[in-house]
């Protein structure tokens, strides 16, 4: 009997083979010289005295061959041939080296070689693209940063800071004429003398600026009094700024009057005595975001 046949009868079918992996549907062979990866009579490198494989190392493909003559010399058993980088040339080299070899081995070698070159191409393409670098999170550091962030948030007192900044800007006249609060010193003194709580009637009573009304309406309907108007009245004497309900009804007028707020040419005359209150939106806008 041929030795290969004996080997197959023992290892392949009956007894234990350490390279064999059995699954429900198929048997695999873990041997690194196996051509197909399956455990078959024709693919087992142990059970075939004449065998060939393709293996790749560091991106280059080699053809490994085993013949009966060298069966007694395990160290020289596998002969290695470097294949050319050119695909067609390499196929020819395989054909040359495996001339007169069984069809099965030749065919499977070429198939394996094709597969290997394909995956090598893929690797090269992927390394050119962006490679995502995974940076591990350190638990202690994350916890520490979260804690410090909370404490910083408490120390920041954001609402107060924002309000202070806005009031500063109001005082420094960055808003110009939109808001009708008397910002001149004389009026400030007057207001300071008054009580803290400024109700509408109070404010109206003490204003001597010829203003008819005091708006707690969202900076709408701001009547420019005469004396505040002085520097802005080049165009017409009694034009007033008008900011309609576009601020409230944003859905309806997205950008109708959204031009320059202060001195835009689109001003409209309004009847002088008219107090408008937008009830629906006032309460919401007046609540502070605590």
């Amino acid at each position: 009997c041929f030795p290969s046949q004996v080997v197959w009868d023992t290892l392949g079918n009956r007894q234990f083979c350490s390279y064999k992996i059995t699954t429900k549907t198929q048997n695999f062979c873990r041997n690194e010289y196996n051509l197909t990866g399956l455990c078959n009579r024709s693919s087992c490198p142990l059970a075939n005295s004449q065998y060939a494989t393709i293996r790749e190392e560091k991106g280059r493909c080699y053809l490994y061959m085993k013949t009966i003559e060298r069966a007694a010399f395990p160290r020289r058993l596998w002969e290695r041939v470097l294949l050319s980088k050119n695909y067609e040339k390499a196929l020819e080299e395989i054909d040359e080296n495996l001339i007169y070899w069984p069809r099965f081995i030749r065919h499977k070698c070429k198939q394996r070689f094709t597969k290997i070159t394909q995956y090598l191409i893929r690797i090269r393409k992927l390394t050119l693209k962006r490679q995502r670098k995974l940076v591990p999170l350190r638990r202690k550091i994350e916890r520490r940063e979260n804690r410090r962030e909370e404490k910083a948030l408490i120390a920041a007192q954001l609402d107060n800071a924002i309000e202070k900044e806005l009031l500063e800007r109001l005082k420094q006249d960055t808003y110009g004429d939109i808001y009708n609060f008397p910002i001149h010193a004389f009026d400030k003194a007057l207001q300071q003398q008054d009580a803290e709580s400024e109700s509408e009637s109070d404010a109206e009573a003490e204003e001597d600026d010829d203003e008819d009304k005091r708006e707690f309406v969202e900076a709408d309907d701001s009547d420019l009094s005469d004396f505040e108007d002085m520097d802005k009245l080049e165009t017409s004497s009694e034009e007033e700024q008008e900011e309609e309900e576009e601020v409230e009804k944003k859905a309806s007028h997205p950008k109708s009057k959204g031009k320059t707020p202060l001195k835009g040419p689109a001003r409209r005359k309004r009847p002088y005595i008219e107090i408008e209150y937008e009830e629906e939106t006032e309460p919401t806008t007046k609540t502070k975001a605590a």
Binding site: E149, L158, F181, V247, T285, K288, A289
Partner: protein
């Protein structure tokens, strides 16, 4: 009692003092940590601690009595120490009158913006395959920043996107990095060759998660508040944020975007304000909120391998001192 007198007795034997728990006198060179026996050492430490506390209480009482006795003439109370008070003085703190800094800022990459030569146009994108939260956050962010556009990433390399953006006249690029379905990083790059800042983003709250919020932000250009950016680095970062928004805010809109720096954490909030009177203003929060912590500032546009870094957060050096901040 036995335990108390034992260690006390031995301490007395060592030190030669009466073992009275009330008034324990130690020679100045003695320290509790020199006792080798853990039990005794612990006991002596507790006694020392009690003594300290008593002394402190007595001192406080005395001070209070003095203060009451003096009445109006009492010296003002001492200012309590806070981390901001105790902050290590940073030598790069910008003096408002510094000419060098002013000159630098007149000639840096943001000068065209501050001279009103360019109008900001922002491109907002994410990392690959953003999940729902990130997408919604991007949309909300683009509603907050005027003249901004959201584009899907689709696996494109940043280095290729950037020349295209420059060609299409974008001035800034924001990339929101996502991890496990939440946004956790922000890369802000000023486009025509400007600095790139990489932040760690945390505490992201979308609009619906904010309690007592207002309505949607409108299209008006908001004002910008930048708080507490004191050092030179803070100044550059602050200018980066300022250059995201168009230079002329529309005061009709009464919206304000705030970047508040506290202990190196930058809090972003978006509010609508209304002046109830000259001294009172009400604010109502709309829009998303998030916190940023600067990780690195790089001179050119985004290039992680070959870029020249102006500042990187080095954990071992910068995190050790709790009173030293960099922004």
């Amino acid at each position: 009692a036995g335990d108390g007198s034992g260690p006390g007795g031995s301490a007395a034997a060592e030190v030669g003092e009466p073992p009275a728990p009330q008034r324990v006198l130690f020679p100045p060179t003695f320290s509790v940590s020199e006792i080798k026996n853990k039990q005794r050492r612990h006991f002596m430490f507790l006694r020392w601690k009690q003594q300290q506390r008593k002394e402190k209480l007595a001192a406080r009482k005395k001070r209070r009595k003095e203060r009451e006795a003096l009445g109006d003439k009492a010296p003002p109370k001492a200012i309590p120490k806070t981390i901001e008070n105790q902050r290590v003085y940073d030598e790069t703190t910008v003096d408002p009158n510094d000419e060098e800094v002013a000159f630098d800022e007149a000639t840096d990459e943001f000068a065209p913006y501050f001279n009103r030569q360019t109008v900001p146009k922002i491109l907002i994108t994410t990392s690959d395959r953003p999940r729902g939260r990130t997408v919604r956050f991007c949309e909300q962010l683009s509603s907050v920043i005027p003249n901004s556009h959201v584009y899907y990433r689709r696996g494109l390399a940043l280095k290729r996107i950037i020349p295209q953006c420059i060609a299409k006249d974008f001035t800034d690029l924001i990339v929101i990095n996502e991890d496990r379905k939440i946004p956790n990083g922000l890369v802000l790059s000023h486009l025509p060759d400007g600095p790139t800042a990489h932040f760690r983003m945390s505490s992201v709250r979308l609009r619906k998660e904010i309690k007592r919020k207002g309505k949607e932000p409108t299209e008006h250009v908001p004002e910008v508040i930048l708080n507490n950016f004191t050092t030179r680095l803070g100044h550059s970062v602050g200018r980066m944020f300022a250059s995201l928004f168009p230079h002329d805010p529309q005061f009709i809109g009464r919206q304000v975007a705030t970047f508040h720096n506290q202990r190196d954490y930058i809090f972003f909030r978006f509010h609508r304000y209304i002046f109830k009177s000259e001294k009172k203003v009400g604010i109502q929060e709309l829009g998303p909120r998030f916190t940023l912590k600067l990780r690195s500032l790089q001179k050119g546009t985004f290039d992680s391998k070959f870029g020249e870094y102006e500042w990187i957060h080095k954990r071992r050096e910068m995190d050790t001192n709790r009173r030293k901040f960099h922004l």
